[in-house]
């Protein structure tokens, strides 16, 4: 791959990163906090491409031409040195992935493969903070599961709750409400799953985003994938909603 072609690949790669971070595309793959670094990295890649093009078009005096084959210290027995530049072609793949394919956020397939996230005990051993105001009160899946499993739902009783997630089928075919939890990028995404009792959305296809309204129930189950406890929600009503801008919890 010659330098101009490399510059084009760099330009596309940096451009794809910039485009993903200026739209909300990047939120499908990484956490929101990475955005400034993505923009910085994208700008640097574009700058490297522009400088490469500039230097090769300007040509620099003939005496300043880069001698890339220069520093070869010994002759190759395995042809290793020969392949290296070609590996740069692979950088077209992420460009393709970001600009043409733009795969969706992780959904029920990934949720079904991994065990549910273990609910967390309240910080510093104190009680859970009171639920947010509103009727129904909005609450995250992980927060609900923690309160339900560690606190026997004491901070949940008496309130109507509203949760948003996507539908993923449990091994027995019943729908569960799930959301993927990211700590860094989608590669470490793990699901938080809730069982649904009462008027559960039974006929909805997997991966449909729903907003369910319901109340705490003491019913518990087990996620067969990792034997972790799964909290349940007694559903009173639900409706389909579009996928939120921030698909991960």
């Amino acid at each position: 791959m010659n330098r101009l072609a490399q510059a084009v690949v760099l330009l596309l790669f940096g451009g794809a990163i910039l485009r993903a971070s200026f739209t909300d595309l990047y939120l499908r793959y990484v956490k929101e906090g990475l955005r400034p670094f993505l923009i910085g990295a994208g700008l640097l890649l574009v700058a490297a491409a522009v400088m490469t093009i500039w230097y090769s078009l300007r040509g620099g005096g003939a005496g300043h031409e880069e001698h890339d084959g220069h520093a070869e210290h010994d002759d190759d027995d395995d042809g290793h040195g020969h392949h290296e530049p070609r590996v740069g072609w692979l950088l077209i793949l992420p460009v393709l992935g970001l600009l043409l394919v733009a795969p969706p956020a992780l959904g029920s397939y990934a949720a079904g493969q991994a065990g549910t996230v273990a609910a967390a005990a309240p910080a510093s051993g104190s009680d859970y903070p009171p639920l947010p105001a509103g009727d129904p009160a909005p609450i995250g899946l992980l927060d609900y599961a923690s309160r339900a499993l560690f606190d026997s739902g004491r901070s949940l009783t008496g309130r109507t709750l509203k949760l948003t997630g996507f539908i993923t089928p449990a091994p027995d075919g019943k729908p569960m409400l799930a959301r993927m939890v990211l700590s860094c990028c989608a590669a470490d995404g793990r699901p938080i799953k809730l069982g649904l009792a009462g008027k559960a959305p039974n006929e909805v296809p997997a991966d449909t985003w729903v907003e369910v309204v319901g109340v705490y129930t003491a019913q518990k189950g087990k996620d067969p994938v990792n034997d972790a406890e799964v909290a349940y929600l007694e559903v009173s009503s639900w409706q389909e909603v579009p996928q939120p801008k921030q698909p991960y919890a």
Binding site: M1, N2, H73, H80, V87
Partner: protein, 345 residues
């Protein structure tokens, strides 16, 4: 680097004659199809068949694969670029004499010093590979650069904080991770001093930076390292995404109860999953059915040996090096990690 006679077949990427600068005598009169033309044709085809390409990626498993593949890369890009820029700075702006002064003269002492230097450089493993490569080029003893390579991603403040957050109320996990990783890094550096051979390391040819202006050399080094390390990162991300999709977690369940097997299983998982060192503590925390010792091994192995790193190290240091270095590091990490686990946890 003494200029040697450049063998003609070696110049296959920079010296494509048809795109040479104007004024350079063209060795061949007729235009050959160069990589720029291939690239242009490829891009046109991709845009024309855009829907077809997007349609190929349907089906839940393949879609998940693509998501994980793209996200590993997006996550790694800032760290890769940071590492590449820092390594270009080392290559261009830091004089060789600096390293002789900064590190202890005796190699055996330089190793722990370089390992400790890793503590202050926050970054993912993707960044430390090009930095270590640049250090070796600038005359730092390979043993010290390797200790840095292993230590930097594992024991920097960001990673240790993430570990503390993922394992609340278990500070011994943080201490175990930090100390065990440092021990492995220093041990590998010393092992290299005893057994390592310089000819195992084959750095890729890089544009000869010495007779260029500094700005030009800086951008040439950046370009070269991004293309290079980035290409191998793509390979590693593809492997990691495949493992992520193909290996369901329920397979691991059966191994969790057996002390030795669970350690080996999680070490293997750390190698295969190739999770960023800043995130692996959260994954370890969620593998709650496994013993703390096996999870500590997961945390020690992950930042030092994984598919993504093996691919990148192959690119930067060469195949003969990685064959020896990766398995040796893996074995050391498993032994040291389980040792600390038994004592501490």
């Amino acid at each position: 680097m003494p200029p040697s006679n450049a063998s003609p077949e070696a110049i296959d990427w920079s010296a494509a004659p048809d795109n040479g600068p104007p004024g350079k005598p063209a060795p061949r009169p007729e235009r050959r199809i160069g990589s720029l033309e291939v690239l242009a044709a490829l891009l046109v085809l991709l845009v024309v068949f855009r829907d077809f390409v997007a349609g190929l990626v349907s089906g839940a498993a393949l879609q998940t694969w693509t998501t994980v593949f793209v996200s590993v890369l997006v996550q790694a890009v800032p760290f890769l670029v940071f590492g590449v820029v820092l390594s270009a700075v080392i290559a261009v702006f830091v004089p060789r004499s600096f390293w002789a002064k900064a590190l202890p003269k005796h190699p055996a002492l330089a190793v722990p010093a370089a390992g400790m230097a890793g503590v202050v450089l926050p970054g993912c493993e993707c960044g430390s590979v090009p930095i270590a490569g640049s250090l070796i080029r600038r005359g730092v003893t390979p043993a010290a650069a390797l200790a840095f390579l292993l230590a930097a991603p594992a024991i920097n403040p960001i990673v240790l904080t993430a570990t503390a957050v993922a394992f609340p109320g278990k500070p011994e996990m943080v201490i175990g991770r930090g100390v065990a990783s440092l021990v492995v890094a220093v041990a590998m550096g010393w092992l290299w001093l005893r057994l390592g051979k310089a000819e195992w390391i084959r750095m890729p040819r890089r544009p000869d930076l010495d007779d260029m202006s500094r700005a030009r050399a800086f951008w040439a080094a950046c370009r070269h390292d991004v293309m290079h390390a980035g290409g191998f990162l793509v390979l590693g991300a593809a492997a990691a995404a495949t493992i992520n999709v193909v290996v369901p977690e329920s397979w691991l369940q059966r191994l969790a109860d057996q002390p030795v097997l669970s350690v080996l299983a999680l070490a293997a998982l750390a190698v295969l999953l190739s999770i960023c060192s800043e995130a692996d503590a959260f994954v370890a925390a969620s593998l709650s059915q496994f013993s703390l010792t096996s999870r500590l091994v997961f945390l020690v192995v992950g930042p030092m040996v994984d598919l993504k790193l093996i691919a990148m190290q192959t690119g930067v240091f060469g195949r003969r090096f990685v064959w020896r270095f990766a398995p040796a590091t893996l074995a050391t990490a498993i032994l040291v990690g389980s040792g600390f686990g038994v004592v501490l946890l």
